[in-house]
Symmetry: C2
Subunit: 315 residues, 2 copies
DNA sequence: CTGCGGAGATGCGACAAGCGAATGTCTAGC
DNA sequence: GCTAGACATTCGCTTGTCGCATCTCCGCAG
């Protein structure tokens, strides 16, 4: 019993107002009766009585209703409160509605991107899983190289991107969910001198080969691995399309690098030689999202699907 | 264990939203931190954390904030909610402000009316009591006959009216707080034949007298009492002002009725003769308010003052 | 004038919400 | 790796609010 008297909250003018009280207030004002309002709201009359009493005490503006023998009637203060209570109710209703619409739009939508070879097996499997679980989600897919996909992520045009890294430091502003480290293969035509090579072959063996690549410069592509092995590959033909690349290789015009994800889908007259990992790992594949930005439910579900699909793919 | 399973409120999308949660939400949004917002609001961090969690659960629109290592940041849903939360806060603030203003205006104001002779002693006494207790209340006074005062009450221009009834049935729509039943006196000049009459004199003794009255017709005035005694008084002079009336009487031009409330303030050369109550009571004085309309605090205090003043007046 | 019925107020017991304090988890920075 | 900062979680307790039953007040009908 010390001096901490804490001032009992008798007649506290700053008391908080419950939205429940306001809803009840409006209902009572509409019907002019506590009892009817109580029935409408599914409560008892005593509850409504105390709700209004609480509201009157909290607002400290005197009675809001005159208690009459046949019901109640708004006082001047009550009439003054009505429009504000309606404003509050409308604001809450609008907020709920708009949040629902947002949830519908964001939760019912998945925008993801992936680099080309991920589309060979990983993405289709993941997408099949995802569609089975979230059939109503509208999915949009974008194809592109890793840097472009990350830009799209930052710009908010994508929810998630399946990206690869050739060993460079991943950017700090992304959340990278590691999926797998994929080994590389060199695709050579049947009959190539090294076609019968046993076990992983060092990439340096192809330092003098003609290369088929999607880009004239190796930087930023799979051929970056060649640079790390100490030689600059000679790009004999720039071919973007994977099927076309295979054609060039099969015709003996050169060799090309094939990531593991695409290894399953090579034509039979081509031999894949596993590249020996020397030093840096071949290539890591991630599902990237923006760090600190919450995932939509759809993106979260797709991330799960991608992980499960990854587990099904032979590493 | 019947079918009334009542669906436990897990994940109830229709849950109510507390205004406290919204206030906390805005504070967190402003500062970008639960901890800072908690300090600002005088709560603990854990409280704020649960407030936001409750709000997110109630709105069911996903997280409102992304939890980052250095604080929090609004999500899309959170950004969407901000203006609505501000609308609610503003509406509540406005309501409080306007109610305060109303309270200030209504609580600091007293509008009352009284009939003329009540101003002789009753109203001044009551007003003195009231002003001593509520010195800051602005008082406006209106003078008028009972019917006019009642009309002003109904129209909302008066908070309270001191009215009299000559025996007619009081209207149902007013709350009549009985103050006193006042006897009537007949004012006669010194030397009048009946001036020395012992005890109450029947009004019929003045059936042939010349009357001084405020109105040519007796209906609705004090002279209504004469009608109830079975004679129609001859109004010789129509004089409204009380002082002037006394002059007329002193000059021997006629007699006039004086209600008890004005009995104290007659000039010395006039004699008052108590009228004998025969049948209906002379006149009742009430403080009238509108039935079913709540009294302002000032009106309530003034009503008390009038009652106390009544007790001090000799009946 | 005396019950009767309808309307709001209130006491009571029970349950749920919400608080503070202490503790756990995660991340960044040294 | 350790410390510091920030949010989440658990625990015990206070406070608020419900339903139920009851009370009071008022108008109405017999």
């Amino acid at each position: 019993m010390s001096s901490m008297a804490a001032m009992p909250n008798t007649h506290d003018a700053g008391a908080e107002v419950s939205t429940v009280w306001l809803r009840v207030f409006l209902e009572v004002a509409r019907h002019g009766s506590f009892t009817v309002a109580a029935r409408t709201l599914g409560w008892t009359q005593s509850a409504v009585s105390r709700q209004i009493a609480s509201l009157e005490a909290a607002l400290d503006g005197g009675p809001l209703f005159d208690r009459l023998p046949r019901g109640v009637a708004l006082t001047e203060a009550g009439r003054l409160l009505v429009p504000h209570a309606e404003t509050v109710a409308a604001a809450l209703h609008d907020a709920r509605r708009e949040l629902g619409a947002l949830r519908e739009a964001a939760g019912g939508r998945l925008r993801f991107g992936a680099f080309a070879t991920a589309d060979a097996a990983l993405v289709p499997h993941a997408l099949a899983l995802f569609r089975a679980r979230r059939p109503r989600v509208r999915v949009t897919r974008e194809e592109g190289l890793t840097p472009a996909l990350l830009d799209q992520l930052t710009a908010g045009h994508l929810d998630l991107a399946v990206v690869s890294t050739t060993g460079r430091a991943p950017l700090e502003s992304y959340e990278l969910h590691h999926l797998l480290d994929e080994p590389l293969y060199v695709a050579v035509p049947d009959g190539h001198p090294l076609a019968a090579h046993e076990g992983p072959v060092p990439l340096g063996h192809f330092a003098d080969a003609d290369w088929i690549s999607g880009s004239a410069r190796p930087e930023g592509t799979l051929l970056d691995a060649a640079l790390r092995q100490g030689f600059r590959p000679r790009v004999a033909h720039v071919v973007g399309e994977w099927t076309a690349k295979q054609g060039y290789v099969a015709a003996g015009l050169g060799v090309t690098l094939v990531p593991a994800l695409a290894a399953e889908s090579v034509r039979p007259d081509i031999t894949l030689l596993r590249v020996r990992d020397e030093g840096a790992p071949a290539r890591a594949v991630y599902a990237a999202t923006v760090r600190g930005r919450s995932l939509t439910p759809a993106a979260s579900a797709f991330l799960d699907a991608v992980r499960e699909a990854t587990a099904k793919i032979p590493a």
